[in-house]
Symmetry: C2
Subunit: 338 residues, 2 copies
């Protein structure tokens, strides 16, 4: 462990000032674009800075400026998940234009770590926090965040008032149900992923409620709701399809399950109508109808809420609901698919 020789002491503002023959304050003015600096002075300072390879130290600046950084912390369930990845990507872009930088942390790594990650962000004096993960007791952050704004993305209501952006999963589920009911289906299976907590459960509830409202009597009979991997999703669908009186239509709470269903259909060489939440590559090629949301909009609204809260801490908490839509590719009306 040698002490990096490359990482030699970086030049400071004081060194630049000295070389330029001005005071530290005057040099500071140049890098902050303050008015009232003679042009000749500006030039002298800039020349000295580039000779030394000076780069302002943001750490020092932030400490002096009131010890609150321009970092925004984001807690996600799993950055590798395309949903979170897209949210992070859009958020990063939106926040950057407002002068903030996104810093990410993934909570699913070890359960219960989320609180520690948030604590780390707060020690770093982040200007704000965006929470888009599935841990359950988020509201505690609010109490402990010491006035740092927290925005919740795609979380269920908890009674605690806070800024949040939600997906209208219930309405989406209703659209899917309407689609298969109109095609005449009556035996309709609902496959959920209990592991994916919040969102998936909302979708489950949306499906079953809408089915009941649609006059389907024995809804529970075809409901399966458990944690899923790609493999188990396939198996569950295969099992449901192999019953004595198999369903003629399937509703799925996520693309993993939808793809598992397609896989199962192929193995069984039988199929059913199918509509799932979340669009996926090749869904169009395969003609699968999906319920989808505009993830970019979710992220953009999240950024907007945060920036607005940052500008005015007093305003009442807002909730934004992102609508969903059905992309009808015909699979909800068919009785034979593969």
């Amino acid at each position: 462990m040698s002490r990096s020789p490359g990482a030699q002491a970086a030049p400071t503002l004081a060194q630049v000032a000295k070389l330029a023959g001005v005071s530290v304050k005057t040099a500071s003015r140049v890098f902050n674009g303050e008015r009232y600096v003679a042009e000749a002075t500006t030039e002298k300072v800039q020349r000295a800075a580039s000779m030394l390879g000076f780069r302002p130290n943001r750490i020092a600046r932030e400490l002096r400026r009131g010890s609150r950084s321009t970092l925004i912390g984001m807690v996600t369930g799993d950055l590798a998940n395309p949903f979170y990845a897209r949210v992070a990507s859009v958020l990063e872009r939106e926040l950057r234009t407002a002068g903030y930088q996104l810093i990410t942390a993934t909570s699913e790594t070890d359960a219960g770590a989320e609180e520690r990650l948030v604590e780390e962000f707060l020690e770093r004096r982040v200007a704000g926090l965006v929470v888009a993960s599935s841990a359950s007791e988020h509201h505690r952050y609010l109490a402990n965040s010491a006035g740092v704004p927290v925005i919740f993305l795609d979380r269920p209501k908890t009674g605690v008032s806070a800024d949040m952006v939600m997906l209208d999963d219930r309405a989406g589920a209703r659209m899917a149900v309407r689609n298969v009911l109109q095609a005449g289906h009556r035996r309709i299976a609902v496959i959920g992923d209990r592991g994916q907590l919040a969102t998936h459960q909302e979708r489950m509830r949306g499906f079953t409620e809408a089915l009941r409202e649609g006059g389907i009597a024995d809804v529970e009979c075809y409901v399966r709701d458990e944690p899923h991997t790609a493999r188990t999703a396939k198996n569950v669908v295969a099992a449901v399809m192999s019953r004595g009186l198999p369903p003629t239509a399937l509703l799925s709470t996520g693309s993993l399950i939808t793809m598992g269903a397609i896989n199962a259909f192929q193995r069984l060489n039988r199929s059913a109508a199918l509509i799932g939440f979340d669009d996926f590559e090749l869904a169009e090629v395969l003609g699968i109808s999906v319920i989808t949301h505009d993830v970019s909009e979710l992220a953009r609204e999240g950024a907007r809420l945060l920036l607005s809260r940052l500008a005015d801490a007093e305003q009442p908490p807002q909730t934004v609901v992102i609508p969903c839509r059905l992309i009808d590719r015909g699979s909800g009306r068919r009785y034979e698919l593969v």
Copy 2:
């Protein structure tokens, strides 16, 4: 723009010390786990801290500790791209266990912005930089990074010596070519995505070289290499397949093109053998052979190189090559697919 009242001045170490009746230095010792603090003192300090809701200020700590943070900056082409997202996810996890936090920036936002992003990272005194983006002149960072280690992920060699992790695209291309040649194919189209710069070009070169070595005379005849969206990929494949003497096999440099090909096959109701780089969901269901790399390994090796460089700035630059493998699902041997 009210001055957030929630963001009231956070309690400081000095306040904790005063409440606990000890010196600032002693209080500091408690939060840094230094030895030689009486147990009673530790307790007093901790009680005072929790009464006040004290949270150590990392900004101040980092400034004092030598103005180098525990942040690692990562520049990606596009965080929403599954490849970069997975890299970021793994990297974040690996670095966190070593006490570092990942901070991300996306360069594709506006071309040429990359340098500005890197500059911002350096002003923030990041401990290291990971560059995984397609901008071309990365080597310049090295000159300007003021001793901050830079690790390049999936970049082509530039002659500049630096720590880097590369994918063995050439070897992968060779495997794909061997697969279709062994199946007896002779008219083999190569579809590339010139827009995706580095990696895709390596793959193109790998394909054409291997074809020539395999005794295919008129290789160029079936080569198409231009920037692609999902739509243009489909159109290009359709055009190639509609020629007088159509190819009997297709090689693709990325999953976007592979999926475009599947789409085109469907529209034309004709098909060809097909092998593409990068695995994708449903590739298994559709029986498409792919050349794939272990992205997690890429990221893990990147983290390892960075941590090793951080520990010893003197060691010679290392290059790690991640091997690739063919997942043979049969599509390279078929003459009819869809």
